[in-house]
């Protein structure tokens, strides 16, 4: 079967096709002048020259590597490919990677700093210079610091990226406790569950080497870390691993699973404990690992002093306690087949240490007590000894590396109760989504509120309360929104400050994508490309302006510059942290900053760079990533260095090894190991912390009936459980509305409903359904599917974006124009004026928009429901569903914020506030972002 007829086309005659095997990636040595044929001219062979610069994707948190192809002639970014040098993503990306191109070239993009001219939220804007912005903001920060109103300065971040240590450095230099995050609407539940076990709040599954993979997540389509994990889950599957997915709805991930357990939301802990129980009763668990690494001795000592203090007796107690979690019990709670639970348990036992697991949001984020789901899952890993093993799940610290920056300021003795109030001493972390309610209660005000890539008006529950807060200029005196895109929240800012996308700023990333440690370097590729051509810039926004992108800036320089202006003379003690480590007294540049980090904080990097004859900074600019260590396993077994062990003491009871009051680790079978960063230095089946902080009933893994337990939902009265939390593979929260290639694939979020429920409600696909929550309602259309459990309705949380003005305030690819009316007395009504429409712009595609529907915004109608321990917003809603009436229109949203405040108070009343032991606000050992000085942990006013 060879060539049939000779090609008639002239071009086809002269082929110089390579007869060698095709390669995937441009080799690094050709990146400075990479030649391709222009696809626009093909089949004519017109060569184009590109400068390739590596950077990091900014769509989800996975921090996958990208390489940007910058046209050397026009300085326009032609394309983003995967970075083959990146150890996590290995040159591959999901749809959101290449869609970065849409994001940077979006005709709707904000390209210059804007200052509002009318009332806040009125939508009148004026272009201002960065200097004006910096001077105004610096003055306000300085004034607040001088007047010791330190808690009135708040930095609220949605998607970090510019994060952790690097921003802690800035806020600690200012001497404030001002970091607020999105974590409590996201992963607080899972974090709490993991942290109570191991002191580390994130898991790192080694899927590639697993024999059995248990996911309470949808990592084949979303989540941390979608692309890197999907690669490795499928790799594991190809090597014979079986997959079990516990998820109420049929996700794409569930579709690839060998076992799909469609659980009633909130029953997952019961399922997991039932599997634990099968392993315990059948004796199919790793006795040696549990004996060595679980704090069973502490448990017996504290709770069963009357019993023999032996491992045997611990096992008997376990069997007795967990005996009640029979497969039948769990199956009844979850509405699944008990036999499947037995099969899964046997798969887990067979996999042993090669058993990888993951929960991040899903059940842990949806339910009251969701943190017990993560705890139950980790229990399972612990039982089979699959902790830090090849194919197991490690605490993420083993697989993440955050290099220290220069000049780290000490934390101040300050505690901001607007972040972590006394009601939530164990929360993970800041009670971010309660901020409007704190302010409503008069707990404080904000003199300077920075939001960064954070869209609480849209993303958080109860967004109308956020609008009420943000429009009250006496409560939020100044709001600066640092954002690469328009957002519903930016609309209510005083300054909208355009920050770079993935390829337009500096950043250092490291994520636990596999059993390794790597760093990835995000860089502004246009600036790098221009500087390679010999041009020099003081700021990245000047480079962007030179490349025709407007004055889009980056955070690193913004915060250095702002800090410099807050303390121009050094009187506040801030300036010194922003002086160059290489030129004393001079302002630090980003080059200084990363040069120092790469020269001093990344093990092996200086040597690797030297081998190539480049500096560490040049190495990172060239490759964009560095693998520090591969195949990292059994980190908890790392022996304490003998040098450290001299003069160390081992506590005879707890076996904890310490020196000069500093805990080094724990002795296990006579060997001093680093163990886990928990109080016992072991895996804490028993959390004395929970007991000490007045939650003795939850001191061990258990099952908390969710607020949406079947008992609380009266199906016959039209009540259903609304599952509002799932992601889609193509979108990322409210940051992808500027990506036309993603929106043309995905643009609606109909309500999933089982055919049984559709029959009961007498509705069919496309009909409108009115979903009543405790504080309001929304109207959305229906999609009848077999992929959802009867009694549960589900709606993806990505869609339903809106804007208030025809030509501004939201990307028109993705937002509906709405009319938002304040009806008084806390009542708000939103109605769509029109859906998505084609529009004129310099991108001809904007007139080719073929979709009209951008979905419905459901989160507005959710009251805040903070879990009493983890502080996680419990997303699942008990709702009443009715057919829409004649007065209802698609996309309608009604909310009563007075009711939402009442719900807030009801949930708040379930907490057991600090102080804990020793008048503490929070256990000193418990993870907390931007930990203040230890003295700040003690409540002084009691």
């Amino acid at each position: 079967m060879n060539e049939t007829r000779p090609p008639l086309h002239p071009v086809a005659q002269q082929l110089d096709s390579a007869s060698i095997a095709l390669a995937s990636y441009p080799p690094v040595e050709k990146w400075d002048d990479w030649i391709e044929y222009d696809t626009a001219r093909w089949p004519r062979k017109v060569e184009k020259h590109y400068q390739i610069v590596p950077t990091i994707c900014f769509n989800c948190e996975a921090a996958c590597g990208l390489i940007g192809l910058v046209d050397r002639e026009t300085l326009r970014v032609r394309r983003f490919d995967g970075n083959p040098e990146h150890p996590g993503s290995r040159g591959r990306n999901c749809a959101k990677g290449p869609a970065t191109l849409n994001q940077i070239h979006d005709p709707e993009r904000i390209r210059y700093p804007l200052r509002r001219t009318g009332k806040r939220g009125e939508g009148k804007w004026q272009r201002v210079s960065w200097d004006e912005v910096l001077d105004d903001l610096a003055a306000r920060v300085r004034k607040a610091l001088e007047e010791n109103r330190r808690n009135e300065i708040m930095y609220h971040v949605g998607r970090p990226g510019h994060e952790l240590l690097y921003h802690q450095r800035i806020l600690h230099a200012w001497g404030i406790d001002g970091h607020n995050s999105h974590t409590n609407v996201c992963s607080a539940g899972a974090r709490a569950g993991y942290a109570f076990w191991s002191g580390i709040d994130r898991p790192s599954p080694d899927h590639a080497n697993a024999r059995f993979i248990l996911l309470l997540s949808s990592h084949l389509e979303s989540g941390h870390y979608f692309n890197p994990h999907a690669q490795r889950i499928i790799e594991g599957k190809q090597q014979g691993a079986k997959i079990c997915v516990i998820d109420t709805r049929l996700s794409n991930t569930a579709s690839k699973a060998d076992y799909w357990l469609s659980s009633w939301p909130g029953s997952e802990a019961a399922i997991l404990l039932a599997i634990c129980n099968i392993l315990l009763q059948e004796g199919r668990f790793d006795r040696d690992f549990v004996r060595k690494w679980v704090n069973w001795e502490e448990y017996l000592r504290e709770e069963h002093a009357d019993q023999p203090q032996t491992f045997q007796s611990f096992v008997s107690i376990l069997k007795q306690i967990y005996g009640r979690y029979t497969p039948e019990f769990a199956a009844k709670e979850a509405g699944v087949d008990p036999q499947v639970l037995v099969e899964v348990a046997h798969e887990v036992a067979r996999a042993g240490p090669a058993f990888s697991t993951h929960v991040w949001r899903n059940a842990a984020a949806g339910n009251l007590g969701g943190w017990q789901v993560a705890r139950g899952l980790q229990f399972l890993s612990v039982l089979v000894g699959a902790v830090g093993t090849p194919g197991g799940t490690a605490p993420n610290a083993a697989n993440k590396y955050i290099p220290a920056p220069p000049l780290m300021p000490p934390p101040a003795e300050v505690w901001n109760e607007m972040l972590l109030p006394r009601e939530y001493p164990l929360a993970f972390f800041e009670m971010s989504f309660l901020l409007p309610h704190f302010i409503k209660e008069g707990r404080g005000k904000l003199a300077m509120y920075f939001t960064r890539v954070y869209n609480p008006v849209w993303t958080n529950p109860d967004g109308m309360s956020w609008i009420e807060m943000l429009t009250d200029e006496s409560k939020v005196e100044r709001h600066a929104c640092l954002t690469p895109t328009w957002s519903e929240t930016a609309w209510f800012a005083d300054y909208v400050l355009p920050m770079g996308h993935a390829s337009e700023r500096h950043d250092l990333m490291s994520q636990e994508t596999q059993a390794a440690r790597w760093i990835g370097f995000r860089q502004p590729i246009l600036r790098v490309a221009l500087e390679k051509q010999g041009k020099r810039f003081n700021t990245t926004y000047e480079a962007h302006e030179a490349a025709g992108m407007g004055q889009i800036w980056e955070e690193d320089e913004f915060w250095i510059e702002l800090s410099w202006r807050v303390d121009p003379d050094g009187a506040l003690g801030i300036r010194k942290y922003f002086e160059s480590p290489y030129a004393p007294g001079q302002k630090m540049t980003v080059d200084d900053y990363y040069r120092w980090i790469f020269e001093n904080s990344v093990p092996g990097l200086p040597e690797a760079a030297a081998k190539q004859g480049v500096t560490p900074l040049e190495y990172m600019r060239k490759y964009g990533a560095y693998l520090i260590e591969d195949s990292v396993y059994h980190v908890h077994e790392t022996r304490i260095k003998s040098r450290d062990l001299s003069d160390a003491i081992t506590d005879p009871v707890s076996q904890i090894v310490s020196k000069d009051g500093v805990v080094l680790g724990v002795e296990v079978d006579g060997i001093a190991c680093v163990g886990f960063p928990t109080p016992s230095r072991k895996l804490e089946f028993y959390s004395k912390t929970l007991k000490d902080w007045r939650w003795p009933e939850y001191a061990i893994p258990g099952y908390i009936k969710s607020h949406v337990h079947g008992e609380n939902i009266d199906i016959n009265a039209g009540e259903r459980l609304l599952l509002p939390t799932f992601r889609l593979p193509t979108l990322i929260h409210t940051r992808s509305g500027n990506a036309k290639w993603l929106y043309e694939i995905t643009h609606t979020n109909p309500i999933w409903i089982n055919p049984n429920d559709a029959q009961i409600l007498d509705v069919k696909t496309g009909d409108l359904l009115k979903v009543h929550t405790e504080i309001g309602y929304f109207v959305d259309k229906i999609w009848v599917t077999e992929g959802i459990k009867p009694g549960v309705v589900a709606c993806s949380h990505h869609l339903g974006r809106w804007r208030l003005q025809e030509d501004s305030g939201g990307e028109r690819w993705s937002t509906a124009l709405v009319d938002l009316k304040n009806l008084g007395d806390g009542k708000w009504m939103m109605r769509q004026i029109h859906g998505i429409k084609p529009f004129k712009s310099d991108d001809p595609d904007s007139e080719r928009i073929f979709w009209q529907d951008g979905g419905v915004h459901q989160n507005l109608t959710f009251p805040v429901q903070p879990d009493f321990i983890s502080g996680q917003h419990c997303w699942h809603q008990k709702v009443r569903v009715t057919k829409a009436g004649p007065e209802d229109k698609y996309g309608d949203v009604f909310v009563d914020t007075n009711k939402s405040h009442q719900v807030y108070k009801r949930w708040l009343s379930k907490t057991r506030p600090a102080p804990g032991p020793n008048n503490l606000r929070r256990p000193l050992w418990l993870p907390r972002s931007y930990k203040p000085a230890p003295e700040a942990y003690y409540i002084k006013d009691r």
Partner: protein
């Protein structure tokens, strides 16, 4: 060397990275795709799963798109890649009808056809296609099918693979591993009224509109996500068939009646007939040109012709017919008599002009409904219907002998009866393919049934027959019957074009 793809649906997670990477590589406009991912669901809760398939050009060894392309804008490279040249494309969209896999679209930036070209521009520099490189799970593999040692050859040899619609005889070079078979065969899918994260475009799927069901039938695949698909041909093509029938039918019948005598009718037969015919031929050509997305490039048919394309051969037939009809007209005007040679040569080319479309539609291998073996004869019958009707109308204005009126009436009766038989033959006989059955069902009992029965059959065949066969039918009856027959014929062409494209190709 023969490049092909293996797509492993066991590995594919339906993430659409390939779709977007392809868009980026070629800067593809919103609304069209070179590669896309289709989703179906099967089963009933909780025994249900979603399945994906990555769909695109199959780089067929026997590619129907190349065969039909009139200007060699589509071509097969020596390495087996089916590539295209937008600068040669006239935008006739026939490739979109020829491809059984829905792989082609009209690029709105250039108004020319485009499709997956295996990223030939990368391949020539030694690099893999963008979709393969981006894929998170390495589900896409390209390689040389002629090299027994290549990874792709080994996989195809050792694993169970399948291709889309092998019965089309196109010899696809895209092989699927682990795919749900229903995803490769659109007629196996139960149509749905909506998609789960995207709008289903209204009117996009006539069959679905008619037949969608809320019931889930276990084991039957439900389409839950797909991209929008274009319906390339519309009213202009229906009108082209109609004007062409008139243009061809008139001289054909005139030739017959000139041979049979009817000397008193020479004005109509020798002069008006070719004149009216030529004006409808001009309309035919105009419609064809206007239907091109690149009308200014219409002469490429002559300057860059693909001799295997019936679009080219057909245009030669139309041109020859036009020249002969002009000679006929010139002779008619100049001498009052036409040479029988010219008459019969014209008639021959009238037959070719009327009938060549059957070969063109046969080259539209994507559309089973148009593959009827009766089509050539049906087109001739339609030409006679149209020709007779138009001659009657012409005669009613300019005068005709009663004898010719009746003869034309008889011709019309016979042609209408034959046409009815042809329609029956095409629609009512048991169909060899599900695609044909579905298209026929659309006309007989589906979304198009009202227009079909009322206009195409009622107005177009039954009413004229009734009028013509009416005892004591007057000339007025003949005139009305002719108007109705022509109207019905246009509606029939319109519905036939529509139904042929209503069955999804992917």
């Amino acid at each position: 060397m023969r490049y092909g793809f293996v797509i492993d649906q066991n590995r594919c997670i339906g993430c659409h990275a390939c779709t977007v990477a392809c868009k980026e590589e070629h800067n593809i406009a919103v609304g069209v795709n070179r590669t896309w991912v289709k989703y179906v669901e099967k089963g009933t809760y909780p025994d249900t799963r979603r399945h994906f398939a990555v769909l695109r050009c199959n780089h067929c060894d026997d590619a129907p798109c190349i065969e039909i392309c009139p200007t060699v804008a589509l071509f097969r490279r020596r390495d087996g890649i089916v590539d295209f040249d937008h600068e040669r494309c006239i935008g006739c969209q026939s490739c979109m009808q020829a491809c059984p896999y829905d792989a082609l679209y009209i690029d709105p930036d250039r108004n020319t056809a485009a499709k997956c070209n295996f990223d030939a521009s990368r391949v020539e520099r030694g690099y893999k296609p963008a979709c393969e490189v981006v894929c998170p799970t390495e589900a896409i593999l390209s390689g040389d099918l002629d090299d027994p040692g290549s990874a792709i050859s080994r996989r195809i040899a050792l694993e169970k693979v399948s291709v889309r619609k092998p019965e089309k005889g196109t010899r696809p070079k895209l092989f699927y591993v682990g795919v749900d078979g229903d995803l490769l065969q659109p007629t196996m899918m139960a149509p749905q009224s909506g998609h789960f994260w995207a709008e289903k475009q209204p009117g996009e799927d006539l069959y679905a509109l008619q037949n969608h069901t809320e019931r889930s039938i276990p084991g039957v695949a439900r389409e839950v996500y797909d991209v929008p698909h274009a319906t390339p041909w519309g009213k202009k093509i229906a009108s082209y068939l109609w004007t062409k029938s008139i243009a061809a039918g008139m001289p054909l019948l005139s030739a017959l009646f000139l041979t049979l005598g009817f000397e008193e009718d020479t004005i109509v037969l020798s002069f008006l007939s070719p004149l009216v015919s030529l004006s409808f031929l001009a309309a035919t050509v105009l419609l064809l040109v206007l239907d091109l997305k690149q009308p200014a490039r219409c002469l490429y048919l002559l300057t860059k012709p693909n001799p295997r394309s019936w679009l080219v051969l057909g245009s030669y037939a139309l041109m020859s017919f036009g020249v002969l009809a002009t000679v006929w007209l010139w002779q008619g005007v100049a001498t009052g008599g036409v040479s029988p040679w010219i008459v019969w040569l014209t008639a021959l080319f009238a037959i070719l002009s009327a009938g060549y479309s059957a070969f063109l539609f046969a080259q539209a291998r994507g559309r089973d409904f148009w593959q009827s073996p009766l089509l050539f004869w049906h087109l001739l019958v339609q030409a006679i219907v149209a020709g007779a009707a138009m001659l009657i109308l012409t005669g009613s204005v300019f005068g005709l002998s009663l004898g010719l009126f009746y003869s034309l009436g008889n011709a019309l009766i016979v042609a209408l009866l034959l046409s009815l038989a042809m329609i029956c033959g095409e629609l009512c006989v048991k169909h060899g393919s599900e695609e044909v059955a579905r298209a026929a069902d659309l006309l007989i009992k589906g979304a198009l049934r009202r227009q079909f029965w009322l206009f195409a059959i009622g107005v177009g065949v039954v009413a004229p027959l009734a009028l013509l066969l009416w005892p004591g039918a007057s000339i007025a009856f003949y005139v009305i019957a002719s108007v109705l027959a022509l109207t019905g014929l246009w509606v029939y062409e319109h519905l036939w074009i529509k139904a042929g494209q209503a069955v999804p190709l992917s």
